[in-house]
């Protein structure tokens, strides 16, 4: 088969994996080899669906022995199939990298023949790149569940990031939709990689071992909407993964109906807004010091689709507000809807020099659209509405509605935005 045809099939098959980042690893290049990595990561292009292209994201093969219901590449699907050779992937990566199209390679694969065989191919490809082509750019490699951990470990010494996708947020869903996969098979390599990373950090400090093991950490992906789990279950799972498995990122992928299966729900379109809310909550966990059980509690299982999780939290804890920006801690400033780490840092800096007013904040480019309802400046409350939960809720929802046209506007298939339109029309 012609290379271009293969590339089309195997990149098309890989696109549902949403992980894209190229960050977290730095200074591989030494001046005599091709490439390096940047800690901050670099995006090289943006596709028509608005997602960034940072890595050459492809499957090694899409011939799969598994028959998972949610997956485009399931064995029983009638689909164009193809396989690369390790040399082809290595060559392609280098050709693209030299032209600055990409930041590196993201290599995943369907499980063809058996897990060990597949993992060996992936390992071979990475070895070619690092050793033959002297390539020092970014590599994100999938660990194949069920493969011998020795293979995974060897690959980890050459890759920057590794990931194992959990896909379904609970064991019962996994059993139902991916009966050939086992929870243990997925969690074991994750645990192994997590422990490997920690040991490697200690070894590097103590014994001056030079080889880095998965320096950019590991990530995973969860599919949202293919199974009945609530947002609360998903977000607690993520928190657990961050806390216990040392994960760098958890990605959420709105379920796209790619197969017809009686076990899968029929949705009018991908639950993009729900996915968006989960990402917002994920950020709150990682950068804003929130805990999962603050955001959602038993009884409140899902995020409000009309306002963001932080605003939702603030409205449920209205006794902590309004907050005086001139005296509040940095940690509390971070919890104000509409104020992020950058704005909070600006405020903390600027108020050393003088007492801040609303005008100052505006000039400092701190967005007050949402924050206004929750802050006072020098004792003044400037939102032109009474400080009441229901009133603020309506205002925030209205703002959000205008803003959210950004998400999935053109497709018009977002179920929640549709129902919102109906309400407005009435």
């Amino acid at each position: 088969m012609e290379l271009q045809k293969k590339l089309e099939i195997l990149s098309d098959a890989a696109k549902y994996d949403v992980s894209c980042s190229s960050s977290g690893s730095s200074g591989r290049g030494d001046g005599s080899s091709l490439g390096n990595t940047k800690a901050a990561g670099i995006c090289h292009s943006w596709t028509d669906d608005g997602r960034c292209v940072s890595l050459l994201k492809i499957l090694f093969t899409n011939y799969c022995i598994y028959d998972c219901h949610y997956c485009v590449n399931r064995a029983s699907n009638d689909r164009a199939r193809a396989s690369f050779t390790p040399e082809e992937v290595a060559k392609l990566t280098v050709d693209f990298y030299k032209r600055n199209y990409i930041e590196g390679l993201f290599l995943s694969s369907a499980v063809s023949r058996d897990p060990d065989w597949t993992m060996e191919r992936l390992l071979k490809t990475v070895q070619l790149l690092r050793n033959k082509y002297n390539y020092q750019g970014y590599i994100h490699l999938k660990a194949i569940p069920g493969a011998d951990f020795k293979l995974i470990y060897q690959a980890g010494l050459l890759a920057d990031r590794m990931s194992v996708n959990i896909e379904l947020p609970s064991e019962s869903s996994l059993e139902k939709l991916a009966p050939q996969k086992k929870k243990a098979g997925i969690l074991a390599p994750m645990k192994g990689i997590g422990a490997g990373i920690e040991n490697n950090i200690i070894e590097r400090k103590k014994y001056k071992v030079k080889d880095k093991f998965v320096p950019a950490g590991q990530s995973t992906q969860l599919i949202v909407g293919a199974s009945p789990e609530s947002d609360r279950q998903i977000i607690s799972l993520s928190e657990g993964l961050y806390d216990h498995f040392n994960l760098k990122r958890v990605y959420y992928s709105a379920y796209l109906p790619v197969n017809n299966s009686s076990l899968l729900p029929t949705l009018p379109g991908p639950p993009l807004k729900r996915e968006h809310r989960l990402y917002q909550a994920d950020w709150l966990l990682r950068f804003y010091g929130f805990k999962a059980d603050e955001l959602l509690t038993p009884g409140r299982e899902n995020f409000d689709l009309k306002i963001d999780p932080k605003a939702d939290w603030a409205l449920n804890n209205l006794d902590k507000f309004p907050l005086e920006v001139n005296t509040a801690d940095y940690e509390m400033l971070l919890r104000v809807p509409g104020i992020g780490p950058r704005s909070a840092a600006k405020i903390v800096k600027a108020r050393k020099e003088k007492t801040l007013t609303h005008y100052n904040l505006k000039k400092m480019r701190i967005v007050l659209k949402r924050a206004n309802f929750f802050i006072t400046c020098d004792g003044k409350y400037a939102a032109a509405v009474p400080f009441e939960s229901s009133v603020i809720y309506d205002r925030l929802a209205e703002n959000e509605c205008q803003q959210l046209s950004l998400f999935g506007s053109s497709s018009g298939s977002d179920e929640s935005s549709k129902s919102w339109d109906l309400e407005k029309a009435e």
């Binding site: 290379l3 271009q4 590339l7 089309e8 099939i9 990149s11 098309d12 890989a14 696109k15 549902y16 290049g29 001046g31 080899s33 091709l34 490439g35 390096n36 940047k38 670099i42 995006c43 090289h44 292009s45 943006w46 596709t47 028509d48 669906d49 608005g50 997602r51 960034c52 292209v53 994201k57 164009a80 693209f96 030299k98 032209r99 600055n100 199209y101 930041e103 750019g137 709105a254 796209l256 379109g269 991908p270 993009l272 600006k346 800096k349 600027a350 050393k352 020099e353 003088k354 801040l356 100052n360 000039k363 400092m364 950004l406 998400f407 999935g408 506007s409 053109s410 497709s411 298939s413």
Partner: protein, 262 residues
């Protein structure tokens, strides 16, 4: 502050060293110029006295050391990056920023309620932002002879900020990045391991290597194939990758709406 009666316009040669020399002179003579402008931007001015500043590298070096010592390295960075913006009145904002800086030290960057501090920081931020963006969006093409060439038309003078990054990354290749707007280019040689900025006319186009078109076609095919149709979102795409940068890309954004696979 003496001499405020006698309003002066400082004219420098447009280089960074030139600007530093002009600033040095203003502080040294305790003058507050009404304007500081690059020679190329200067239009005859009847009302004010014109002072042409001759660029002196030692003075520039001395002055930047002073900034580092008495204010901070961050401030020096901000000034350099704001200078690269080539924005109108940028020089005067820098002057006032430094004026406060020499009084209060490194705390000047906390004076966010002051207009000129914000202006300098914002300009510097914009320049850094574009430079970061272009590190991803620049597309090299293999020219006949195995050298690589890229054309860009950035809003700001970002070539010098990008050069070290590409030197690091493509240290084993010979390459040229061509700023068509300013008719200059960064040229890097793998043998010398050094880059320098040269003048290069707008019309320059290298001849491409034989296999270049094939690789470009593969990239276009990849780009179209990875976009998910039922999530199509051209607005977000444009937000991150404004149309002004599309001209020198190899891929064609928006193409997947026409492109079909199997």
């Amino acid at each position: 502050m003496k001499n405020t009666e006698n309003k002066k316009v400082y004219i420098y040669d447009g280089s960074y060293q030139g600007l530093l020399t002009a600033l040095y002179q203003a502080f040294k003579l305790r003058e507050v110029p009404i304007k500081i402008v690059a020679q190329a931007e200067f239009k005859d001015d009847l009302f004010y006295q014109q002072v042409e500043v001759k660029t002196e590298n030692e003075k520039a070096q001395f002055f930047s050391d002073q900034i580092k010592e008495h204010i901070s390295a961050q401030t020096l960075n901000n000034i350099f990056h704001a200078y690269l913006s080539e924005a109108e009145k940028m020089e005067l904002y820098i002057f006032r920023y430094l004026f406060t800086g020499f009084k209060v030290g490194k705390k000047v960057d906390e004076f966010l309620t002051k207009d000129y501090v914000r202006q300098v920081q914002d300009l510097a931020h914009k320049v850094r932002h574009e430079s970061h963006r272009l590190k991803g969006l620049i597309r090299l093409q293999e020219a006949a002879g195995g050298k690589y060439y890229a054309a860009v038309e950035p809003d700001y003078k970002t070539l010098v900020l990008m050069a070290p990054h590409f030197k690091n990354r493509f240290s084993t290749m010979d390459w040229i990045i061509h700023d068509k707007k300013r008719e200059e280019a960064v040229i890097y040689s793998a043998a010398e391991k050094e880059w320098l900025v040269i003048d290069l006319e707008k019309e320059f186009e290298p001849e491409l290597s034989n296999k270049e078109k094939d690789v470009q076609q593969l990239w276009q095919a990849f780009f179209s194939a990875v976009s998910i149709k039922n999530r199509s979102n051209p607005r977000t795409q444009r937000q991150f990758m404004p149309k002004k940068y599309w001209k020198h890309l190899i891929e064609s954004p928006g193409s997947s709406r026409k492109f079909k696979i199997k």
